[in-house]
């Protein structure tokens, strides 16, 4: 046989840096890498985020566009920032299902028995989802560019719009991390995810301006964090107020982190 499995002498513990911050980040990145490799082995995992923006664009622009805006081309311009954020909203839900599966399958037992940061598997999962977000946005912008969508505020502003939306999605992911760790079955995670995302997404300015809504719904829509994100993206891509919605977006993002990261960590520690 070979010498491969010969453990070193007792107490020869591998050198693990105990500096508090960087190892945790490296561990999270390693676990993010794991999720990205999984996507590479299973490209169909990106199917939802690649097809969804196309389907929703076609659906809303051509089915409702004429009725809502009179001209589908005008509506396309209004809609793209909305679809962009909406797609990310739907894309965040996947993380809860994935984490739930990992835990059920026992993959996390190994991680929990390793001397690594408690947060690493969760942070890694959130980081890996950036691949999904970027895919969704790339597909959306390429497809709508073919239909004639153009941003008016220049490339740097458009890039900042994309970064803002992704940043918000990463903060929102923690809600689904928490749900994924709290709810027993993956199916239930998905159900609850939809219940949470649908009102927030459709009760926003994604599809129509808030002015057209009845008063009570306007109140909800105007205070909906998703509206702030969409307005930020719209401002940065097509012109209009940015500072206000951006401040709200950052505020909501921080609030989501402050509430749901601790909740998720606690659920993770408790989950058997």
């Amino acid at each position: 046989m070979t010498t491969a499995t010969r453990p070193a002498p007792r107490f020869d513990v591998p050198e693990i840096s105990s500096a508090p911050k960087l190892p945790a980040l490296q561990q999270a990145l390693t676990l993010a890498w794991r999720n990205v490799v999984k996507i590479r082995h299973q490209p169909e995992a990106l199917m939802d985020v690649s097809l969804q923006p196309i389907i929703f664009t076609v659906l809303f622009v051509f089915v409702f566009g004429g009725a809502i805006a009179g001209d589908w081309h005008d509506y396309l311009t209004y809609l793209v920032p909305g679809i962009l954020v909406q797609t990310l909203m739907f894309a965040t839900g996947g993380i809860g299902v994935a984490l739930n599966n990992d835990i059920t399958k026992g993959v996390f037992d190994r991680f929990r028995s390793l001397p690594i940061a408690r947060s690493a598997p969760l942070v890694g999962a959130v980081l890996a989802d950036v691949v999904r977000f970027v895919t969704a946005i790339a597909v959306l912008l390429a497809f709508t560019a073919l239909l004639g969508f153009r941003t008016t505020e220049g490339l740097p502003a458009a890039a900042l719009a994309v970064l803002t939306a992704i940043g918000f999605a990463m903060c929102l992911s923690w809600v689904f991390v928490w749900i994924g760790l709290t709810v027993r079955s993956a199916g239930a995670v998905q159900g609850i995810g939809f219940l949470a995302t649908f009102p927030l997404t459709f009760g926003s300015t994604a599809l129509v301006s808030a002015d057209t809504l009845p008063g009570w719904l306007q109140a909800f829509t105007r205070n909906n964090p998703v509206t702030h994100v969409i307005d930020t993206v719209r401002g940065l891509m097509l012109g209009g107020p940015v500072a206000g919605p951006l401040a709200w977006t950052v505020g909501w993002s921080l609030l989501l982190l402050a509430v749901f990261v601790p909740l998720a960590m606690r659920a993770y520690r408790r989950r058997v």
């Binding site: 070979t2 513990v13 390693t30 999984k38 399958k105 026992g106 190994r110």
Partner: protein, 320 residues
């Protein structure tokens, strides 16, 4: 430090169910403790507590010199865990699975790769290293899982039913791997429903039933404790069978059984009966082709200790 694992009074309840009800156990350095018991006896819970995945409600445990409750991170640096359900990542290749653990333990990319190649070679998985683990057989998965748990060169290895659901050949392969690890100085706590497995691998055995340790000892001690041994005798000449039966009945005080090959057997209380039987048969001029005292099987031991039979329903175990 004489004991690598010391646990005292471990208690853990899930709701009203006591999964662990005051478990004591010790594993001397460099030895294998077999934790034997049926489904639901608390074996897996004990492993999860000792490997810091679960906190006990009461009691304490030290692994490799550190308290599982107050110094979990120190414990984690010294243990390897192979769970009941091979926790390999199916979408990753064998090499990626192992290298990932190396990276998590702070190795450089090159060092993690090298360590993975070394471990996979040791488990005869080099040829499959770059294949996705999805394509692995059950036995290969277990070996990969073991390889992954050894990346950090653990002093203590927890193996939770390492061969459940494996075919006999794969089981033997895994046993060989475990023997090599022990030969190299690793302490092992392994749970099993297979009495044969505990018999093969373990220096000491504890028997779990409903969250408690109901017996503790070496395989031989446990067999002795439950009493009756069986004395078997086969005369060289079948014509002597009647004499043999008479002698056995005289020594054991009960009527012996006779099988189709002419082997007579009778339960006896001690090995001393062997000498008496041999003397009597020799003086009567009976030539023997077989004379032995056989200890009871661990299955019989388990039945005697717990009052109920072991459950070896693998389907159920895998589905659970």
């Amino acid at each position: 430090m004489t004991h690598t694992i010391e646990a005292e009074g471990l208690t853990l309840s899930y709701g009203s169910t006591k999964a662990l009800d005051g478990v004591d156990l010790t594993v001397p350095a460099g030895t294998v403790l077999g934790v034997l018991g049926p489904n639901g006896a608390g074996k897996t819970t004990a492993v999860r507590v000792l490997s810091t995945l679960l906190r006990p409600d009461a009691g304490h445990a030290r692994v490799a010199g550190f308290d599982v409750r107050t110094q979990p991170q120190e414990v984690r640096r010294r243990i390897g865990l192979t769970g009941q359900y091979a926790s390999v990542d199916e979408d990753l290749t064998g090499a990626q699975n192992v290298a990932m653990i190396g990276r998590l333990l702070g190795m450089s990319r090159a060092a993690a790769k090298a360590r993975a190649a070394e471990l996979l070679a040791g488990f005869s998985l080099s040829d499959a290293a770059d294949r996705s683990a999805k394509t692995y057989s059950g036995g290969m998965r277990r070996r990969l899982d073991l390889a992954a748990s050894l990346v950090g060169r653990p002093q203590v290895l927890f193996l939770d039913e390492p061969t459940t659901g494996l075919d006999p050949r794969s089981r033997t392969e895994v046993w060989d791997v475990i023997r090599r690890l022990v030969a190299d100085g690793t302490s092992v706590l392994l749970t099993t429903q297979y009495l044969e497995e505990a018999d093969e691998l373990a220096d000491d055995i504890v028997v779990f039933d409903t969250g408690r340790v109901v017996a503790h000892g070496t395989s031989d001690e446990l067999k002795h404790r439950t009493g009756a041994q069986t004395l078997t005798v086969r005369p060289r000449d079948r014509a002597d069978t009647a004499t043999v039966l008479a002698v056995l009945e005289q020594v054991a005080g009960t009527a012996p059984a006779l099988d189709g090959h002419g082997t007579a057997s009778v339960p006896v209380r001690s090995e001393a009966a062997l000498g008496t039987v041999l003397d009597l048969l020799t003086t009567q001029g009976v030539g023997l082709s077989e004379l032995a005292v056989r200890l009871p099987s661990l299955d019989e031991v388990f039945l005697a200790l717990t009052g109920h039979a072991t459950q070896s329903d693998n389907e159920k175990e895998v589905a659970a």
